[in-house]
């Protein structure tokens, strides 16, 4: 079997006395859709931030397709084909929706210099417009992203993560605030990507219906540890998980 | 009767404002008197004011503007940095220019149209040397100066003079323009303990220096050029100014010189404050413009320049020149000067120095 797309080894991170992540290890293989769930404050987002270079972990290593990327900067990691979203809305508020999405793709085309002298949209308008219309935002194409509704911004955020055609995407709560119908579309799109391009996904989400129907495998985090791991139906039945997280 | 325009270009705002406004007000009095006296060549004089904001680039633009608007002579500027720039413009237009700047370099550029209204540092400071050698009999001295083109000019001349006189400069203390804290400066001087200190700074800086010197009880005599004993400095420094000595080109305190006394009185009545050195300079500049233009007989820059060089005006014939004054072929001025000391809160003339 080939090297896992993402391999997380023994990551630890604490913030002045609070141990947010305490030695987490797992592998994700090509084509998987992995769910990452757990109570609030269990360290999920912190783990993402450690994996993707936004935070420096206190210990541990991260490998992407066999390569140690622990010290790599987020932009370089992104160029390797790793995309992500953040839990908190993070569009560029004073840029148009179209510009937001083109930006997400432009750094993957050409070199720094060729971008200066090439076309101003790096030839990406069409591709961006497709994504925009998929997320039903066509009428907002030239609106500043900051004046979109919460759910709409969430969609732009997701579109940005998908724009560069990454091979591994980490999504932090993609469903929060998104209308159920649109969410079904999003799920469909992720599954299609996964099937057609073999894109691997890791998804943090509190919407259990979404997670359970989307993911092929689920990891449950609590207080910085992995407390359970398995197929969706196993997790749903796991008493520890029910007590810690799902509730009665 | 026509009017003749005088362009007053000076530092009316920015750090140079105190000097500039005094310069302006001195000129205002002169212009009033000149007009009362029939103007220049029977023409009424109109004074146009231009504010350089103490910015050399602006000053250059304004000298240009004054000339564009028909000024036949320029009065200003005071800060040497500005004068260095704008005198080029006046030169290009053959317009005579009286400046208040004292930096040596101004008259070293071979510009025939620029004239001083007081001696430059390279004349004023050497006039002091005798005081250090003969009166104080000093062997080791210190110098405290403000690090701008004014202070640097004075300091350079002083150090040179001392070398010539065989006196050692054992403390050389630079301070910033608008500096407020002189503790370090004074303590350095105290540590070096020279026999006298030459203080070359602008007004408030001088006052703050004197205050700190008194606080730390600096024991040696403090000697300055022009500023150190000015009325303003004494007002600001209060008791701390007591005993300070300065060489002064022309001082409003020399009231026994008739022209000076009259001017000082008129100035105080009009502006409710005592005239400074800069006010007298402006006054003299404006009057000289009148005298020389009338000597030439027409408003002509070239002829004016011709006349100015090597010109000597006697106070007896030209009373508003205040003291017998000569200009050399570079536009440098010389006239008798005074040594002044602060006694009981007032400057007192303690000696005169002949023109050099």
């Amino acid at each position: 079997m080939s090297a896992p797309v993402l391999s997380v080894r023994n990551i630890e991170k604490s913030f002045g006395g609070i141990q947010a992540v305490r030695g987490v290890s797992f592998d994700v293989h090509k084509g998987e859709i992995l769910g990452l769930i757990g109570p609030n404050g269990s360290g999920k987002s912190t783990l993402f931030n450690c994996i993707l270079g936004q935070l420096a972990p206190d210990a541990g290593e991260v490998h992407v397709t066999g390569r140690n990327v622990s010290k790599m900067r987020a932009s370089d990691l992104n160029k390797l084909g790793v995309g992500r979203t953040f839990q908190q809305l993070s569009v560029f508020p004073k840029m148009t929706v179209l510009d937001n999405i083109i930006l997400a793709g432009q750094e993957h085309h050409g070199t720094m210099l060729s971008r200066l002298f090439g076309p101003s949209d790096a030839g990406l308008t069409q591709q961006a417009e497709q994504l925009i219309s998929f997320f039903r935002l066509t009428h907002l194409r030239d609106t500043l992203a900051g004046s979109l509704s919460y759910g709409q911004q969430k969609l732009v955020d997701a579109a940005m993560a998908l724009m560069a055609g990454p091979s591994l995407v980490l999504l932090d709560e993609p469903a929060g605030g998104v209308n159920l119908t649109m969410l079904a579309n999003l799920k469909e799109r992720l599954v299609t990507y996964n099937a057609e391009h073999g894109t691997t996904f890791v998804v943090i989400e509190h919407n259990m219906e979404f997670v359970m129907s989307l993911c092929t495998r689920i990891i449950v985090l609590a207080e910085g540890h992995i407390i359970a791991e398995g197929k969706p139906e196993e997790i749903r039945a796991n008493q520890t998980v029910i007590d810690a997280y799902l509730g009665g | 009767q026509e009017t003749m325009k005088l362009g007053m270009v000076a530092e009316l705002s920015g750090p140079g404002a105190p000097a500039g406004t005094n310069w302006r007000d001195g000129i205002k009095i002169a212009v009033e008197e000149i007009n009362a006296d029939g103007g220049i060549l029977q023409n009424k004089v109109e004074l146009i004011e231009y504010d350089t904001q103490t910015d050399p680039q602006v000053s250059r633009a304004l000298v240009q503007k004054a000339i564009d608007e028909g000024a036949f002579a320029i009065l200003g500027t005071i800060y040497s940095g500005s004068t260095m720039v704008n005198m080029l413009v006046a030169q290009q237009n053959s317009t005579p220019q009286f400046v208040g700047s004292e930096a040596p370099s101004i008259v070293e550029k071979g510009n025939p149209f620029v004239y001083r209204t007081s001696s430059g540092a390279q004349k004023g400071v050497p006039a002091l040397t005798a005081y250090f050698t003969d009166t104080l009999k000093a062997k080791k001295v210190g110098v405290a100066w403000v690090n701008n083109e004014f202070g640097k000019g004075g300091r350079d001349v002083f150090v040179e003079e001392m070398k010539k006189a065989g006196i050692e400069v054992i403390a050389d203390v630079a301070s910033e323009q608008a500096q407020t804290d002189y503790a370090a400066d004074v303590s350095k001087l105290k540590e070096a303990n020279p026999e006298a200190v030459f203080v070359y700074m602008n007004q408030e800086e001088s006052a703050r220096f004197l205050i700190e010197a008194k606080k730390q009880a600096l024991p040696m005599p403090l000697i300055g050029e022009v500023t150190l004993t000015e009325a303003k400095v004494i007002e600001l420094a209060g008791a701390a100014a007591e005993g300070a000595i300065a060489h002064v080109g022309v001082t409003a305190t020399a009231t026994d010189v008739p022209g000076i006394g009259d001017f000082a009185k008129k100035f105080e009545e009009t502006f409710k404050r005592k005239p400074t050195h800069d006010a007298i300079k402006g006054y003299v500049g404006a009057w000289t413009t009148k005298y020389v233009t009338e000597l030439v007989g027409k408003a002509d820059g070239e002829a004016f320049a011709e006349k100015m060089h090597g010109l000597c005006l006697k106070a007896a014939d030209y009373p508003k020149i205040l003291l017998d004054t000569c200009w050399d072929e570079n536009g440098e001025m010389s006239r008798p000067s005074f040594m002044v000391q602060v006694k009981d809160g007032a400057p007192v003339v303690i000696g005169t120095v002949p023109a050099n």
């Binding site: - | 303590s187 703050r208 303003k232 007002e235 600001l236």
Partner: protein, 292 residues
């Protein structure tokens, strides 16, 4: 030895003055998240109120101080807030910063045109008697300045962190939208901030001017140095202003005495840059927290 002591003590004395002005910066930052670039002029102006009260209305010194304080609070507090801060604040910090720069010019030039371009002496609230400490000299005034800036720091810190009003002011600065939703009287909190700032500026003015002399252009350098002191101390802590101010005062004097007078303005800056690079949140400041 006595020279070193002298330099240190003098540095502390000057530093306490910087601190007093710097506190204004941190206060306005903590309570309105903006920088008042006219802070130096805010400190320059009250002394002139007093001079006018004494010179034109013939009031004795102490009542004139009181008049100066009241006028400062009205002009630099109420008017400033109503006419400038309130309309511009919602449009972001940088716009207000520029507006305060323009305000600085306005105040400076007004004083110059309507009062005087020349420096004026200003009476001291405290006796200026020199006190000899092992051969070094400080004045009583210096000691008072130090004590007062210390006191102000303690009081303000307590006020901002220990009272509900203080916390409402912080909430207003950090997230005005939320403060408004929770029912905080946002406008009033901003008013408080500027009132306190104005009163502080007046106090600083009365303490500083006897030494610095009253001059329209005093605010320029003072404002700049205090701004630097506030940053170095850590903008988001009142006590940072004290530490920053004292540090700059001492460093400046040490540099001028022992290293270089020509570059005395530079060396402290370079040292401070090093500090900032090592501790990006400032000496006393705390980090602003998670960003992802």
């Amino acid at each position: 030895m006595s020279q070193l002591l002298q330099v240190l003590l003098s540095g502390l004395a000057t530093g306490s003055i910087y601190a007093l002005v710097a506190i204004g910066f941190t206060l306005v930052w903590q309570a309105a998240q903006t920088v008042n670039f006219a802070q130096g002029e805010f400190v320059m102006l009250p002394a002139f109120f007093v001079l006018v009260a004494m010179g034109y209305f013939g009031l004795p010194f102490l009542p004139a101080l009181l008049v100066g304080l009241v006028l400062s609070v009205l002009v630099l507090g109420v008017l400033f807030k109503k006419l400038i801060a309130e309309p511009i604040l919602p449009h972001g910090g940088i716009t207000l910063i520029i507006a305060t720069m323009a305000l600085g010019i306005f105040l400076k030039e007004s004083v110059k045109e309507f009062y005087s371009a020349e420096a004026q002496p200003f009476p001291s609230m405290f006796p200026n008697d020199p006190i000899d400490i092992f051969g070094a000299v400080v004045s009583l005034q210096d000691l008072f300045n130090l004590a007062i800036s210390l006191g102000v720091v303690v009081l303000l810190t307590l006020f901002l962190n220990r009272t509900r009003t203080g916390r409402c002011m912080q909430a207003t600065a950090q997230n005005p939208a939320v403060a408004e939703i929770l029912g905080v009287d946002v406008k009033r909190m901003i008013l408080y901030t500027f009132l306190i700032n104005a009163a502080l500026a007046a106090l600083a003015s009365f303490l500083i001017t006897p030494v610095y002399l009253a001059k329209f252009s005093n605010g320029e350098t003072l404002g700049l140095i205090a701004f630097i002191a506030a940053i170095v101390g850590g903008f988001n802590q009142i006590r940072g202003a004290l530490v920053g101010g004292l540090l700059i005062g001492v460093l400046d004097n040490l540099t001028a005495t022992y290293v270089t007078a020509q570059y005395r303005a530079a060396l402290p800056l370079v040292l401070l840059i090093v500090i900032i690079m090592l501790r990006p949140q400032g000496l006393m400041g705390t980090s602003e927290g998670r960003s992802v």
